[in-house]
């Protein structure tokens, strides 16, 4: 049947990408349908119950700054919070939380169910409908046809998913969920560039069978930090600890002896797995000289005894899993509740996407999340948000929107994906961001909330809170800049205490705050320094901006220098074979991937600076021609 009403946006898949996409599109006012296998698994964490971490926490803050829900849901579902790198500078600090699976899921589901303009429907999607190269809708397993202006596909690990445990394998989207087989076939027919990737998960354990007394406790931070800019610590449920144990030589022997039945080492698994998230068998083979590996014992939730042993992801046969788990300290009597496994799935070469995450091949079809070759909830959620916004813009006939590498980790990730493609599942790291000092967790709101407001995804509550903070920061900075401190006003003892030395001349408060050893709180105790601000988030921001000023200015200069060429538009119908002087290899590359801007072109592998100069000349010349024609 044809479903009677027409949607602006259909989102396929209710994982982390899909839920952010659907919510964003609906927040903008689009009539949105979220279609997923199972409403019970909306917002489900397929793997470890944790959100954030270095680079990933940055993404979560950006999602939040743009009105997304991942941060808020984590504040409601988080049972252990930590700031990683807290001893290092603000740019590389990141928040990480252990989440209660079911609380997290509930928090997401409640938001979905209460979001105006959003409809939920439980059905597997088997097919797309097209008109020429334009998407028109989807067809579900029962043959129901839904029509929409734009479709966002976020099928995660489900496309032609294949689960491996030892020598046995079966088709699934993840353990306990059906795969998406028909849709995968259909996508292969559409000639989208497809590949296989692999990921894995450890066995889960009944926590009552563990001996925690021999493990090291790892408590959360106290006070627990918040993820959302709107969050408050009274949202946090009860907080619990994680524990640390180690593998040992015996564990490693057990694994080595089981390798002849490992799907990884017998060539059954073809997909490429992530190097930074290796299975335990990989770790032991690749780092044979290491005689133990650290294992984090993480609670899965407050209402369950299950724990997640982070660090022993494996697809070894169950008998080997059983033995290896019980070889670890504190795990001697461990009862496995769910075996570990590896999963192989289809992904699409993200070089086939625009920076809006729209496919270059099919108008109105957007891809987000794991199917773009990434891994991780945060990576998926951030892409979902971007794709959802763009699907909304597309449905409204508006121009697409994207973020630059200098604006957000989200911008870095999408640009990396669409220009470099992936050779293994892509995870965010701060070292991927060339403007790392600008892209901090603490200023994601200052970087993005105004943009989000313009796009219509930031609601009034967030906007009001943000505006107050932004203005307070500006005001206090201005005050520090214009308040002079005279050495005569400051007694030597105060100067030594706050500045570590006597003042030799007059300075502004801002100058003094820029010194590495001077804190904002201490500065305010100088005679004549005034009262300052009370809100710790404002104070923090003022202090960071002062301390980073030199570096911020330098990076900003560099951004400006590159900006013009970076954003220079390359028409999609550019005939690269006509560009004088380009090598054949470069011509082919450009023709194949059709970068949208000169900046993207420059980052394709093999494209040289000289090639960019030649392109520039070509563009200019053609522009001249068209101008002459139209004149």
């Amino acid at each position: 049947m044809f479903f009677p009403s027409l949607f602006d946006v259909i989102v396929v898949g209710g994982g982390h990408a899909g839920t952010e996409a659907a919510l964003a599109a609906a927040r903008m006012g689009n009539k949105t349908l979220l279609l997923t296998h199972n409403i019970e698994t909306l917002g489900q964490m397929s793997c470890n119950p944790a959100i954030g971490g270095i680079g990933k926490g940055h993404l979560v803050k950006e999602i939040d700054a743009l009105g997304g829900v991942m941060a808020a849901a984590t504040d409601e579902g988080g049972i252990q919070f930590r700031i990683l790198n807290s001893s290092k500078g603000p740019a590389v600090r990141a928040t990480r939380a252990q989440a209660d699976r079911s609380l997290y899921k509930q928090a997401i589901r409640r938001r979905l169910e209460n979001q105006p303009n959003l409809w939920l429907f439980q059905q597997a999607v088997d097919d797309f409908t097209l008109s020429g190269d334009q998407i028109t809708g989807v067809v579900t397993q029962l043959g129901v046809r839904f029509e929409a202006h734009a479709v966002v596909l976020t099928a995660g690990t489900f496309l032609a998913g294949l689960v491996h445990v030892g020598q046995s394998s079966y088709q699934a989207g993840r353990a306990g969920d059906p795969p998406a087989i028909s849709l995968a076939h259909r996508l292969r027919e559409l000639n989208l560039p497809v590949g296989r990737l692999k990921t894995g998960t450890p066995p889960r354990i009944d926590g009552r069978s563990l001996d925690y007394s021999v493990m090291t406790e790892q408590p959360g931070d106290d006070p627990a930090p918040m993820f959302s800019y709107l969050g408050s610590s009274n949202q946090h449920p009860q907080q619990v600890s994680c524990w640390i144990t180690y593998t040992n030589e015996r564990t490693h022997d057990i694994i080595r002896n089981g390798l002849d039945r490992s799907p990884l080492y017998t060539g059954v698994i073809e997909g490429v797995g992530p190097r930074y998230c290796p299975s335990i068998e990989d770790k032991i083979m690749r780092f044979a000289d290491k005689d133990n590996h650290q294992i984090f014992v993480e609670p899965e939730g407050l209402s369950t005894h299950e724990i997640y042993p982070n660090g022993i992801s494996t697809s070894l046969p169950f008998d080997v899993q059983y033995a290896l788990v019980r070889s670890m300290r504190g795990f001697e009597n461990a009862h496995i509740t769910r075996p570990g496994y590896a999963i192989e799935y289809d992904y699409f070469d993200p070089r086939g996407l625009k920076s809006t995450l729209e496919t270059k091949a099919i108008k109105g079809l957007f891809f987000a999340g794991q199917i773009n070759g990434t891994t991780g909830y945060e990576e998926a959620g951030a892409q979902g948000l971007l794709a959802g916004i763009n699907a909304g813009l597309f449905a409204a006939g508006k121009e697409g929107w994207s973020l630059g590498r200098d604006q957000a980790y989200l911008g870095v990730m999408v640009d990396d994906l669409i220009t470099r493609g992936v050779s293994e599942p892509y995870r965010m790291f701060t070292s991927r961001a060339e403007y790392r000092l600008l892209l901090r967790e603490d200023n994601a709101d200052l970087r993005l909330t105004e943009i989000g407001r313009e796009l219509g995804v930031v609601d009034d509550e967030r906007w009001a809170l943000f505006s107050t903070k932004r203005d307070a920061v500006a005001l206090e900075k201005e005050r520090l800049k214009s308040t002079w401190v005279n050495p005569r006003m400051v007694d030597v003892a105060s100067a030594e205490r706050v500045l570590g030395q006597a003042m030799e001349r007059e300075y502004t408060l801002l100058d003094l705050l820029r010194r590495p050893q001077v804190s904002y709180q201490a500065l305010l105790t100088l005679p004549g320094a005034g009262n300052g601000v009370f809100d710790p988030r404002v104070a923090e921001q003022v202090e960071i901006q002062a301390k980073y000023q030199g570096y911020i200015e330098r990076q900003q200069e560099e951004i400006e220098r590159h900006h013009h060429y970076e954003a220079l538009h390359l028409p999609p119908d550019t005939d690269y074979s006509k560009v004088h002087g380009l090598s054949i290899e470069v011509k082919q590359k450009l023709a194949q991937y059709r970068p949208e801007t000169l900046g993207q072109a420059a980052r394709l592998s093999g494209v040289t600076p000289a090639a960019i100069s030649l392109l520039l000349v070509y563009l200019k010349r053609n522009q001249g021609r068209t101008e002459k024609k139209s004149a």
Partner: protein
């Protein structure tokens, strides 16, 4: 939607006249907001489009050269940007000094063809010229690539790569400790990051010192002509210069004041100084001249000891030789072979080169030029090699500065990391790109990371 401001380019400079031509040399500078640069360089603002006679000032206020300065504000200039042209008298060496001064003021050395490219992009060239610009970029980049490869062969390249490798190793530790704080690996604590950094700095310093050799090419070689009176020093200078710059007579002790002349051999500048012949004398004027000779010797990077072939090496010559500074390379030139039955040629005496020439007939002059080039360290590279080397030196200097900043910031890991990254970016211009993914690959292959 959400567009930012318009294009802003950085400022570039290059010697606009072909190297090796005498007369005037022009340094051309293009960019925006050049007024500050003008102030630093000329001391006073310039009137647009007026030729004014100015002193070109070095960083310490000393005068590099005097010449005509012309300022064309955008858009009415060759490139469409603000353009400053400095026309000096200088040969290559002076031009290079002027250029270096500009670079010190934050200006970047222009890529080959970059002025033309900018002119084109700013609508200063018409459509028909477009193809030729493309050709130019194509050729220039090929040329640049070639010269980069050429100068990257052998020891220099190995040394650069060694520095880069050590830098990568350090960065790997730093980035790993930032991105993977939860691992049970001491990336930095055990690794002595600061010690590693000073190791890299030291190695880079050595590399820079060696690269300064290449500086000879930019700065030129200071050659002093010494010898007894009447052996033909002034005659040789005139011959090399192709002009009667010094007085030549049969009277011993003709030259009193030092006579300077710059010549070029295959583009390499040689600053040749003719001096008063050395002998014991009671003439006060001549004594002063001889004192000046020794002063000139002190500043020279190469001495040509002239001798009369008919006499051979006399005890007076040996005395002069003994007085020359120990570390100063010396070539022995045996002149006036036309008076002997003897061909031009070269002889080795206990490892010392003796070149037999005639300043009168010109015999052996090609041989002399060849040997001058060889001593200057000039390898048979083609055009463009000089540009590439200049760039390399800049990159090494830039990397050195970043590493210095890194050392000053080592307590703040994210700044430390930033400076190391910038240092690597500088060196990337020599060795090719090394991106974030490469670095992560390096980390994952070395450490067992991930849960």
């Amino acid at each position: 939607m959400l567009q930012k401001g318009m294009a802003k380019t950085d400022t570039i400079a290059a010697v606009a006249t072909a190297p090796g031509r005498g007369g005037i040399g022009v340094v051309r500078i293009s960019g925006y907001q050049l007024s500050e640069l003008v102030l630093h360089l000329l001391g006073k603002p310039l009137r647009p489009r007026f030729a004014s006679l100015k002193k070109f000032l070095d960083i310490d206020g000393s005068v590099i050269d005097e010449g005509i300065a012309l300022y064309f504000p955008a858009p009415n200039s060759f490139t469409g940007e603000d353009v400053l042209e400095l026309q000096g008298h200088g040969g290559n060496a002076v031009m290079q000094r002027l250029l270096k001064r500009c670079l010190n003021l934050g200006v970047r050395l222009a890529e080959p063809g970059e002025f033309t490219k900018r002119a084109f992009l700013n609508d200063k060239l018409d459509l028909a010229q477009a193809e030729s610009v493309a050709d130019l970029i194509d050729a220039a980049s090929e040329e640049a690539a070639k010269s980069a490869v050429r100068s990257l062969q052998g020891e220099f390249s190995n040394a650069v790569h060694e520095v880069v490798e050590r830098l990568i190793h350090l960065r790997m530790l730093v980035e790993a400790s930032i991105d993977f704080p939860d691992e049970d690996i001491d990336f930095l604590e055990a690794a002595d990051a600061l010690g590693k950094l000073s190791g890299v700095r030291e190695q880079l310093q050595q590399l820079q010192n060696r690269a300064k050799q290449g500086c000879l090419l930019r700065e030129g070689v200071h050659v002093v002509l010494v010898g007894q009176p009447n052996v033909g020093k002034s005659s040789l200078l005139n011959l090399l210069a192709g002009d009667e710059v010094a007085i030549v007579t049969a009277i011993a002790g003709t030259t009193r004041d030092t006579v300077r002349e710059e010549i070029e051999i295959k583009g390499v500048p040689f600053h040749i100084i003719d001096t008063a012949g050395l002998r014991d004398t009671s003439c006060e004027v001549e004594q002063i001249g001889i004192a000046r000779t020794w002063a000139a010797v002190d500043k020279a990077s190469l001495a040509l000891l002239l001798l009369d072939s008919r006499e051979g090496m006399t005890s007076s010559d040996e005395a002069i030789l003994a007085r020359l500074p120990e570390n100063l390379p010396v070539m022995q030139i045996f002149n006036k072979i036309d008076l002997l039955p003897r061909e031009a040629g070269i002889e080795f005496d206990a490892g010392v080169k003796r070149i037999f020439v005639s300043a009168k007939s010109g015999a052996g002059m090609d041989l002399l030029r060849e040997n001058l080039l060889e001593v200057a360290g000039w390898e048979q590279t083609g055009e463009g090699a000089f540009m590439a080397r200049e760039r390399h030196l800049r990159a090494l200097d830039g990397a050195g500065a970043c590493l210095r900043n890194a050392e000053n910031n080592w307590r703040q890991l994210e700044f430390f990391a930033e400076e190391l990254k910038l240092a690597q970016n500088e060196l990337n211009s020599i060795t090719g790109a090394f991106g974030a993914d490469d670095l992560l690959g390096e980390i994952f292959s070395r450490f067992c990371i991930g849960k």
